[in-house]
Subunit: 401 residues, 2 copies
């Protein structure tokens, strides 16, 4: 019998009406002869409400107690959804993360799944029950409740699909699939029928917010058939898999990431190993460096520019201040008026001239490029923040026909 894992986010179960909608999707799948495991997030604003309650007590509460608190959100969702499915006349049971067998490490608030013990879950499936599982949560080896952090419910769903060797893992959202660009920003954005894991990963790390990287990485690792699909409209979504069929689209996506700041280190002594020292100090503080540009400065010195996420800015500046003791004097400048615009597509590997075409499109739109970074299936450029949407449209017009 086919086994399908379906994941529904917080907005899909936000109220009774939406829960009925989910119950109908789930029972339709079941009726068609599949076994169904449903993974759900907390309802709409529940998590925010719980966080507000905690912050009223302590703005910086114990993470262990925070996980105890937040995990109630999904527990509410699973019981309500199970009630709706049962009312429609189908056999159903809800399971907390623990009951579904999610064992994690002890990193409260961003735990990693170590193992899923699916014995009970499979016993319920064997009785042809629809099993509704609380996403985002598990327990550690001390029997304490943990949560998986951002994108946690997607990760729960993909991990369960991998462990149960499900035929398909459907991520239901309020958009109807993966687009070549955010349709709210780019006029001619198109929905993709298929996209590869690698392309999806690059798109996610370039600012597209459909799926969290962690779940895509896991799906790639265990080769889980993923589909992003709308919970509100009945139409095909986007399939995400290892290898996609040939498509005429040279690139699969145009993305923009505003969460970026450029830091320039000017007047560094021109000695070997100086870049290595700076970036290893940043790495030691777990600061994620993205685009790097090194250039020759005034006589006997060099300049290094790089980008980091906005919330790493202060930590990076601190590292650079402390490093002066060993590296000598230099100036540090920051620029937050920047955005990173990227194009992603496996097709560019075998098509020379993609970069040239990108730069041409930006030139014709009168957009100046400050930094460039490339990978095998991605080209990113750093430009002025207020030109971001214009650049996305120019690139979409050039590449997406």
């Amino acid at each position: 019998m086919k086994l399908i894992v379906q994941k529904f986010g917080g907005s899909s179960v936000a109220n009774a009406e939406r829960i009925w909608n989910v119950a109908r999707i789930v029972t339709d799948t079941y009726k068609n002869g599949a076994n169904v495991v449903v993974v759900v997030s907390a309802q709409g604003d529940t998590t925010d409400d719980l966080i507000a309650k905690a912050h009223e007590i302590d703005p910086n509460p114990s993470k262990r107690e925070m996980d105890m608190l937040l995990s109630t959100g999904e527990q509410i969702s699973i019981s309500l959804l199970a009630m709706a499915i049962s009312k429609l006349g189908y056999p159903v049971i809800s399971l907390t993360g623990r009951q579904a067998g999610f064992l994690t490490d002890s990193n409260h608030s961003k735990a990693r799944i170590k193992k899923i013990d699916t014995e009970r879950l499979e016993k319920e499936l064997d009785q042809r029950k629809i099993v509704v599982v609380a996403g985002f949560q598990g327990i550690n080896r001390y029997d304490d409740i943990t949560t998986l952090g951002r994108g946690g419910s997607d990760t729960s769903a993909v991990a369960l699909a991998a462990e149960l060797k499900a035929d398909l893992c459907q991520i239901y959202t309020d958009v109807d699939g993966v687009y070549t660009a955010d349709p709210r920003l780019v006029k001619n954005a198109k929905k993709l029928e298929e996209i590869s894991f690698d392309e999806m990963l690059e798109l996610a790390s370039c600012g597209a917010q459909v799926l969290h990287n962690r779940s895509v990485e896991m799906a790639k690792k265990y080769n889980v058939n993923l589909e992003v699909i709308s919970s509100l409209e009945d139409k095909p979504g986007t399939k995400i898999k290892e290898v996609t069929k040939m498509e005429k689209l040279l690139i699969k996506g145009v993305a923009k990431d505003d969460d970026i700041v450029r830091i320039s280190v000017i007047g560094l002594p021109d000695k070997p190993g100086i870049a290595f020292k700076i970036f290893s100090l940043l790495a030691a503080k777990k600061i994620n460096v993205d685009i790097i540009l090194q250039s020759v400065g005034r006589t006997g010195t060099k300049d290094i520019s790089f980008t980091v996420p906005v919330d790493s800015k202060d930590a990076a500046l601190e590292v650079l201040e402390e490093a002066k003791d060993t590296l000598g004097e230099y100036t540090v400048e920051t620029d937050t008026d920047v955005t990173k615009v990227s194009i992603v597509g496996a097709g560019m590997q075998s098509n020379p001239g993609v970069a040239a075409k990108m730069f041409e499109a930006l030139y014709e739109a009168d957009i100046n490029i400050a930094m460039i970074s490339t990978s095998e299936i991605k080209i990113s450029v750093l430009i002025k923040k207020d030109l971001g949407i214009k650049a996305m449209n120019a690139l979409s017009d050039a590449f997406i026909k």
Copy 2:
């Protein structure tokens, strides 16, 4: 080291301010050198809100899913209270009913505690942590969450105190102890310093609502030192124990129960065993019969009157209608315009004349008695509903000096 179990109800943890108040009471006890286990209920209206959410989906939801839903209420309370205690600088950990070791039967929504496995809880106490436990909940042998039903958190606290052999179990409420009568109804109601388990049980079953019978029964069975005390004012509460010291009070309480209806069966054939048949039929339907009065009716017949709780009225009338097939013809009348007023006190066992004094007080207040029922430590009378409060005051004036 002394071990104290403290239980706080929903109104005591209804908001951040109240939670701080509870945290201060708990940490004061801990600071004075005791180990402290705290049992809490769901915050204020949380349970009602969750029930409303469920009823939006299904007015009659699965009890297993209802327990999954409602148990989140206490889980929210324990994490918030643990955050507050921690913020005050004390070591603390919250435990769900399951983590605290509550194993129950599978009677969802009104489960009975079968066993408490306190291994983890005692490990946390050994580390001098304050342990905050979710009341009202446990798991059954299938690892499903159960709830204990009405008065559940009191029962959790008393059961834990019994299992841990605690020195004291304090039930914190928004009243400051057990009164001889409801102070909102009776002018000269007095707070009791002490009351015996048996007296408390009779008072509870006569309509006093301070403690649920189940927890008092359990405290009596395991001889747990109980205290009812105010969470809002710092003053001594009422101690409930096996034997109380001699007090000048002949009776400990005056209570009123409006949840009562009188059913009269008139014109029954005057044959042996007829009363037995009627009451065994009622018992088979689990209808709780309270006061019974039998009298001789017209020639060759007799009349039987009895009282049942209001929500058993329809079931009782059905039983009486069906019984006509075997018992012959009779008339059935019901009267809902009645209330039961009781006086309770172990002292009446050794003091003849208490009943006479009660009837005299009611006579002088011009109150007519319809039915009378007595136990070793209780006398109840059935009177017109609108005279209930007048009767309570008359009895309080006569007995409570």
